[in-house]
Symmetry: C2
Subunit: 269 residues, 2 copies
């Protein structure tokens, strides 16, 4: 698996609009200090939650992003009231996407419920408008497919859950087999638990390495997976085969949607 060496230099070397990220990151982005927080503009982060999402695409990054200094995190949904993730966890938004304040960072989790939103213009226009202003979009897992449907991945490098990886090209993206991919203002994380790694990288980009290291130590993130089974490349063949079969119907539904949307979106610009 390739990794993408991530520094503020490479981040800023992307297609990001510098003015916007400078505003979002305050003094940090000027490179004077990794540790000082004085004079920084408050970061406003929003996470979009929806029915049948995968809760840990949201709650993993929440554990990281809610610990950022000088920031506020808004949990948003299409409507007020609790929703359930695809395994039944009850999650309650604090606000709706139409009532939320302007965001510096928009976080889009994934999960099976993403499929029902691939043509929902309320969701797609929120993502499109945010990205088109050069603001940061952070997708986790198949949240990248929603970003693709919004048209913001055209000409971008991106990643997603391994089972949906080969769908990225339908949206004009260049799939990159990495845990976290940063392309300008678009940060995509691979499947599910990759959101934690992605959020820690975002934390470093937004508030500096020192802040991200403090968060990492706070959440004691020194993982020890019990098996070498976290990717299709490393897992035993029979394990990969079993999951490909189990995911089959969902993957085919996602492919059909991606194909149809590809025709509408037209070739990558």
């Amino acid at each position: 698996m390739t990794t993408h060496h991530l520094t503020r230099r490479t981040f800023l070397g992307g297609t990001l609009m510098l003015g916007t990220i400078a505003a979002a990151s305050g003094a940090q982005i000027q490179g004077t200090s990794d540790t000082g927080t004085a004079g920084k503009k408050k970061l406003v982060i929003g996470t979009f939650i929806y029915p049948r999402m995968d809760q840990i695409d949201f709650t993993g990054p929440f554990a990281v992003l809610s610990r950022l200094p000088d920031s506020e995190l808004h949990v948003m949904a299409l409507e007020r009231g609790p929703i359930k993730d695809h395994k039944g966890l009850v999650l309650t938004p604090q606000t709706t996407i139409s009532e939320a304040p302007p965001l510096d960072v928009l976080h889009i989790p994934g999960g099976p419920g993403q499929e029902a939103l691939m043509r929902d213009e309320r969701v797609l226009s929120m993502i499109r408008r945010h990205a088109d202003q050069g603001r940061l979009v952070f997708s986790v897992c198949t949240g990248a497919l929603l970003c693709g449907a919004a048209g913001i991945l055209r000409g971008r490098r991106a990643t997603t859950h391994w089972s949906a990886f080969d769908l990225l090209h339908y949206f004009g993206a260049t799939p990159v087999n990495a845990r976290v991919v940063v392309d300008g203002n678009i940060v995509t994380a691979a499947g599910v638990t990759a959101g934690i790694d992605g959020a820690l990288r975002l934390a470093a980009l937004l508030r500096g390495d020192r802040v991200a290291q403090e968060i990492q130590l706070d959440i004691q993130y020194a993982p020890e997976p019990p098996f070498n089974a976290g990717t299709p490349q490393s897992a035993p063949g029979e394990v990969v085969d079993a999951l490909i079969e189990r995911f089959g119907p969902l993957t085919e539904a996602r492919r059909a949607t991606a194909r149809a949307l590809a025709a509408q979106l037209g070739p990558a610009g």
Copy 2:
């Protein structure tokens, strides 16, 4: 950091009551098959949530345990109605601890809110009763302090969040600096994100390696922490110092409680 090599052999070699775990694990524990699930008793898992907990101590393991075949997971609280984690995430239980069915596995997350429950007999008796029946207890982070207050860690090896590690001895436990510690029917995970590793190990113990590997691939758990900062041993000194200072008041409150409870619990039996 030492690791504890975990097999069903070492698991069963602990102080676990074999009859109970055999019932919980069905044919699996007989060692005939890693893959078959036919004839297994349904596993009943309960997670206890409470105000000012750390949500990812719950939601990390939820991502794993909710994917176990032939199982059901009950999210329990002292009362019905939503609670907030210490960073403001709204979580809603499905049931109360008095209404939940008998459990095979009791999962106790940690977080700052644990401190308010250290003398709550409703919580402590739930933990004690469950453990005394030889059923599995799985604590994450400072959930171990609640287990200690319940008296179930006496004479046991255990771990917890690094900032509370040296409090374990007050409860008669032997602190073990490992990501996950299994001592008979008591499984303790270190801080916060260690709950994911602990839950995957539990999954392997309860349903076999193959099932745990499928879950690990499903959640694409091939972590790539951006820094080597997840433990006090590996993080830069100034990062460790900053967090020790920030955690100071909470750590001292926890120490005072642990000392007082140690006097009540008496020496380890």
